[in-house]
């Protein structure tokens, strides 16, 4: 468990962790900067400095390789370890070959030559490149970077690498502690690579498991609530690269792997959206899709407000004034909005940004609309959990007052906009006027929406049974190919199933709800057996080749009509090469993870001359361009943000709940006893916490759960900051994210909430 604290933030998930330990004797390792509630439950706890996860994980991989504890047969069969890489590929001083003056990489030397060496001896095969690269991450070096005591770290390496044996399995759990960094993608990749080296992917009890930050954030991502993907993880078209359907089809469809079906998924989506108007002659209305010409990530969108590019905003169940990075600057940017629509249960800080402390309402011209929304128990629909289970939820009670479901609001909004275009026209009315929107005249029927997402045959209207039935000729329509099958029976839709039988005893529960894709419970499950089809361990026999056919305990993630030998090198069907990437030629900041310091760090980079990720996204020249230099004397302490069990995210709901306010009434920051002694502080004193962005006042909690870490011979102190409070609701307090930097990961733009620099003064 790294960068995750499910005991606090996912308590129901912890139920299963507790069960696993009781029934299977599993050991729990927790790596976290401070002694969290999850750490208190651990068999083995190891601290690490915020922002050093890559080094920490690289070190465990190095330990596995150096001590021959990795799962060699798995690695050879199911990963690209044997692939030979371009002879000019190099890693020098923290930079990979092909670094351009523009600050990006030319990745031509990162590509495969097409040859393989299953003995893993070729000096330029992926395995040898990885082995050389990781050899720099020995225990002493990792300990110096991370502050993890060397003896404890070694114990962690030893215990976790014991899962590299075929008869054992290790489960990796992570959350925002791993992702919210300027090298967040590399952190997660390092964890995934560790799991691959140890043969822990695709097996019951294994995997790389994200504890999603919100109960339905998985569903939101699946359905396209991200700036760069359409439903089902198809890329949003770019104006430059994909001006036409032909260009999109050609550039986003690989020649091998399951994404060869992308055109079927996209055409079916366009048929669902534009119905009879979408035909082969007009490229299924591809031209109606908005195309991006710039970065539309969170911070860039707020930056665009300052430029007058973004004039209006819907904050729909979102509270960026508390939840976004550099929230002070975000509030400044919002003052330029002409209009703002907030859809929420309460008047959030975002809805009330114009009356924030220090703001002058007389000078803010933004017209704000607040639409009261129904909460989850006051409406019907599906919710998708971290394990990709799509579960239908029924309405329990009527919403109060004028509150309405999000679907009701979206439906009325669309109909009003359509009416406006019908009556008064517009610059480009077709994408609105030709949109298929037939969920009911007066009231929107949620089941009709579900059926469209599931997909149907255009001619008959009958639901498609699964995405394998989708076509690229316009004969099928489907809102999200991944969800195909979840609502394929109007009377008994799989997402409403609630039968918890588990015949295999492997916790698959195929008759409980529906797991995308295809009700498959474990992804990449070809890896649960060896190349010849034998389970790695009889207790985890998800499949077994009996000589003539497969004995199945899950929906195969491979072609089960074929004998094992024909699918052994295609276990990762979503990748064109069919084998998992220990070396990823497509990741923007490097094919293998390398340690970089956070953008704001108290120390220099021990590993190279690159202080932080050379591709980190810094919004230079904007109001967000406020970063402290490395080893800053003004801001000597490492800050990190965290969440409490009692409040949910920005507290928009929970700070209006009297019982929860009683439990966690006031904002505070947490520091060690040693820092408190140095600053003359005791619990309950008021402190001023300052960063390069802003400062606030809060009470201080002096706690032995936070301890300084020894990094490169220096004691590094930490300040732990919860981010649940704001100026609205029953419990008010400083906004933690007023202090966090708008510095982004180059692959995802996720901000570096989890590691930055601050100073603390007694008030």
């Amino acid at each position: 468990m790294i960068g995750a604290n499910p005991a606090s933030n996912h308590p129901i998930a912890f139920r299963w962790i507790t069960k696993g330990r009781e029934q299977k004797g599993s050991k729990l390792i927790v790596a976290d900067p401070w002694f969290t509630q999850s750490a208190a439950m651990a068999d083995l706890y190891v601290p690490l400095r915020p922002g050093t996860d890559t080094a920490f994980l690289n070190g465990i991989m190095n330990y596995a390789i150096q001590n021959n504890l990795f799962h060699r047969e798995y690695v050879v069969a199911y990963t690209n370890a044997s692939y030979i890489v371009h002879p000019d590929f190099k890693i020098e001083d923290g930079l990979f070959s092909g670094f351009l003056e523009s600050g990006k990489y030319d990745t031509s030397t990162w590509q495969y030559t097409g040859e393989k060496d299953p003995t893993l001896q070729h000096p330029n095969c992926v395995f040898q490149i990885l082995k050389r690269h990781l050899s720099r991450y020995d225990i002493k070096t990792v300990s110096e970077i991370t502050g993890a005591p060397a003896d404890v770290y070694e114990e962690v390496c030893k215990l976790y690498c014991s899962t590299g044996k075929p008869d054992r399995v290790g489960n990796a759990i992570y959350c925002m502690g791993l992702t919210q960094h300027t090298h967040g993608t590399q952190n997660v990749r390092a964890l995934a690579m560790l799991q691959l080296l140890l043969g822990n992917v695709g097996l019951p009890g294994g995997g790389v498991n994200a504890e999603r930050g919100e109960s339905n954030v998985q569903g939101a991502c699946d359905i396209g609530v991200l700036f760069h993907v359409l439903p089902g993880y198809n890329p949003v078209p770019s104006a430059k690269a994909h001006p036409t359907w032909a260009a999109y089809r050609e550039k986003t469809t690989p020649s091998t792997g399951y994404w060869v079906n992308r055109p079927k998924f996209l055409v079916s989506m366009l048929k669902a959206w534009y119905g009879e108007h979408a035909t082969g002659e007009n490229d299924f209305c591809y031209d109606f899709l908005p195309k991006t010409a710039a970065d539309h990530s969170h911070v860039s969108t707020f930056q665009d407000m300052t430029k007058g590019v973004v004039k209006g905003m819907f904050a729909w169940g979102q509270n960026p004034v508390v939840g976004g990075p550099s929230a002070v600057q975000a509030r400044e940017a919002m003052k330029n909005l002409e209009w703002l629509v907030c859809v929420d249960l309460f008047e959030t800080e975002t809805a009330a940004f114009w009356k924030a402390p220090g703001a002058d309402p007389a000078k803010i011209a933004t017209e704000v609309f607040l639409l009261p929304a129904a909460c989850s128990y006051e409406k019907e629909g599906s919710i998708t959990n971290s394990g990709r289970w799509i579960q239908w939820r029924w309405q329990a009670v009527e919403p109060p007052g004028e509150a309405r479901s999000d679907l009701w609001i979206a439906d009325r909004l669309f109909k009003a906009i359509r009416k406006e275009y019908q009556e008064n026209g517009g610059v480009f009315p077709d994408p609105i006027l030709k949109m298929k929107w037939d969920y009911g005249e007066a009231e929107c029927d949620v089941v009709k929406v579900a059926l469209e997402i599931n997909g149907y045959e255009v001619a008959t209207g009958a639901p498609v049974q699964s995405f394998t039935k989708l076509a690229d000729d316009g004969s099928t329509a489907c809102g999200d190919w991944l969800y195909s099958g979840y609502y394929n029976d109007v009377h008994n839709p799989p997402c409403k199933r609630r039968d918890n039988v588990d015949p295999s005893g492997l916790a698959c529960f195929h008759r409980w709800a529906f797991s995308w894709p295809a009700n498959r419970r474990i992804l990449y499950n070809r890896c649960s057996v060896d190349p010849s089809g034998r389970p790695w361990h009889p207790e985890r026999a998800l499949f077994r080749w009996n000589g003539t056919g497969w004995v199945k305990n899950d929906v195969p993630d491979f072609n089960a009509k074929l004998p094992p030998v024909e699918t052994a090198d295609k276990a990762f069907i979503m990748l064109p090469e069919g084998q998992a990437r220990l070396f990823a030629p497509g990741v923007k900041d490097g094919p293998v993870p390398e340690h970089y310091e956070p953008v704001e760090s108290p120390v220099g980079n021990r590993m190279s001359g690159q202080q932080h990720n050379p591709l980190a996204v810094l919004w230079k020249g904007s109001i967000f361009d406020k970063y402290a230099p490395a080893e800053s004397a003004d801001f000597p302490y490492v800050a990190t943000t965290f969440r409490l069990p009692e409040h949910y995210q920005t507290g928009g709901v929970t700070r209006n709940q009297p019982y929860l306010v009683e439990l966690a009434p006031e904002m505070f920051v947490m520091i060690s006893k040693t820092l408190a002694e140095k600053l003359g502080l005791k619990s309950g004193d008021w402190v001023r916490v300052a960063t390069a962005r802003s400062e606030f006042k809060a009470k201080v909690a002096v706690s032995s759960l936070v301890r300084p870490l020894t990094v490169q011979g220096r004691k590094i102190e930490m300040v732990c900051i919860p981010w649940h409070w704001g100026f609205q609701g029953l419990a008010t307090g400083a906004i933690g994210n007023d202090l966090t930097p708008a510095a982004g990961d180059p692959n995802t733009r996720i901000p570096e909430y989890k590691a930055f620099l601050c100073n603390v003064h007694k008030v």
């Binding site: 999850s38 409490l644 306010v661 002096v702």
Partner: protein
């Protein structure tokens, strides 16, 4: 049918405080105004509107630190002292095991019960002279309908387990025997004050988690009653005295707050 009880396994409690909220929710108790506490325990003590409370403990031993969450409420003694101390019989030890403040109409507000309870698990309104009492009743209204107490029903990790006391005691012994290196060899509530319906097992010595382990191992009602009954003046005098103390200290606290 034997008496019911609850087994609390402190090693399995993640400190989510779902039980604390579930208790208030089921019993319809109002939220109280709280302020920052360093330990995050809130409210800092049980009170009239919080008859169960999760206490957070940080235990330091040299370089090592441990953190534990301990749910507190009435332990439901097998021979309850509160029942014995009450001269109007407002209390009842039910056949199900719950000790219930059954007859509030006849309660005089004498506070004997609270004084008598060695664990300080009975709550009153300190700003009322003759206050009614409130304590955990093991959700007796749920019990008689075949439901578990609200706190147990909401616990996500199984740290709280409801069942017949004898069976729970056996399970507690088994858990300790199976993991002798992990658990302290002590079932709190097995013998304390002659036994309680709530049982606790832990990996941290109970003294370090705020438990009173210095109580006698036999039933104490008779002892206490013997002394209190000899001093009838207390029945009238004590409530007034305590209420006066409360009003005085509250005012002083308010004045001090106002000075800042």
């Amino acid at each position: 049918m034997g008496q019911y009880g609850v087994l609390v396994d402190i090693t399995k409690c993640i400190g989510c405080r779902g039980c604390q909220v579930a208790c208030k929710n089921w019993n319809d108790l109002p939220a109280t105004k709280t302020t920052f506490t360093a330990s995050r325990t809130n409210p800092p003590q049980m009170n009239f509107n919080n008859v169960t409370l999760v206490n957070f403990h940080t235990i330091e031993k040299g370089d090592k630190v441990q953190w534990r969450a301990v749910k507190m409420q009435c332990f439901h003694c097998l021979e309850p002292i509160c029942f014995e101390a009450c001269f109007v019989h407002a209390y009842k030890k039910t056949p199900e095991g719950a000790v219930v403040y059954f007859n509030p109409e006849i309660c005089t507000g004498c506070r004997y019960c609270q004084l008598a309870c060695p664990f300080l698990n009975i709550q009153l309104k300190w700003d009322e002279v003759f206050s009614r009492v409130r304590k955990c009743d093991m959700c007796y209204d749920r019990l008689v309908r075949g439901l578990k107490p609200a706190c147990v029903a909401t616990c996500p990790t199984g740290a709280l387990k409801f069942g017949e006391r004898d069976a729970l005691l056996k399970e507690a012994r088994e858990r300790i025997a199976k993991n002798p290196d992990k658990y302290v060899d002590h079932i709190f509530g097995e013998k304390e004050v002659g036994g309680t319906s709530w049982l606790y097992i832990s990996d941290v010595p109970f003294e370090e988690l705020g438990f009173r382990t210095d109580v006698m191992h036999e039933s104490i009602p008779k002892y206490t009653w013997k002394y209190i009954s000899k001093a009838p003046i207390l029945a009238v005098g004590l409530p007034i005295l305590f209420a006066a103390f409360y009003v005085y200290t509250k005012r002083r606290a308010e004045n001090e707050d106002g000075g800042h």
